[in-house]
Symmetry: C2
Subunit: 159 residues, 2 copies
Amino acid sequence: MLKLFEYNWQVRKDWFDWCDSVTEKELLEKRRGGPGSILYTLFHIIDVEYSWISGLQGKPEPQEPTFEDYANMKKLREYSARCHEEITPFIYAWNSSMETRILEDGNPTNKLESFKYGEIIRHVLTHEIHHIGQLSVWSREIGKQPITANVIRRGLFDC
Amino acid sequence: MLKLFEYNWQVRKDWFDWCDSVTEKELLEKRRGGPGSILYTLFHIIDVEYSWISGLQGKPEPQEPTFEDYANMKKLREYSARCHEEITPFIYAWNSSMETRILEDGNPTNKLESFKYGEIIRHVLTHEIHHIGQLSVWSREIGKQPITANVIRRGLFDC
């Protein structure tokens, strides 16, 4: 599980660097399909990972962040780094005995739901990969080569 | 690992069913970003999963399939089912002792490369999720709601 998180974080960093070579106008332009602009999609990925993992850590639901507070690369990188610091201890401590623990999740619009920890951690993993797939289409729309989605040849399994 | 494969296979089936409500012209139209058309992308997902897992099973490199032989939903479903039958015993037998086994991979255009089994199995998993993200953008292009990418609420963790 950890390797797939490390993959996501490495790919996310590569996309942040990719964004540095794209105008703010392109980054903020509403795209068809997906949650919105390129920058909003990256913000959404960070927010969703942070919210769910905070829940698994037993923390109270974080206050809903406002995209406008993070709508440039400097602020988005800081937001990602801050969230990352909070959630990594949990990811590195993950083990199979945690798979069947139950998270009770409720929000104002839904009734209370129960999820297994193993379900949530995979949901978070695939959520990022799915949205990165959307970025790869939009990058071609603005004439740029996307970041490779390959797991292989990233050095993730060298040790 | 198995749960994520089951997720991919369920999502793939949902997309097959989704395709039934789309014209062949739309399914075969070349899209921007990604490997090609919607149908070609699904073909590519099946082919890549089958080729890599066959390698992990110690089988010789399968003969490169020709997309034109599978370019409608009936043939693509049959192709997916046939590949699925061959690879599932390996996926269900997967265990952590196989993580560090080495696959030597060579093809006419590349030098011989070594990969850990754990690297390949995650590569195959993320490969499908990434391309499904691309389908979700294209589905909006043709005015249709995409298949949900959520891991949660699919019944995958009910037992």
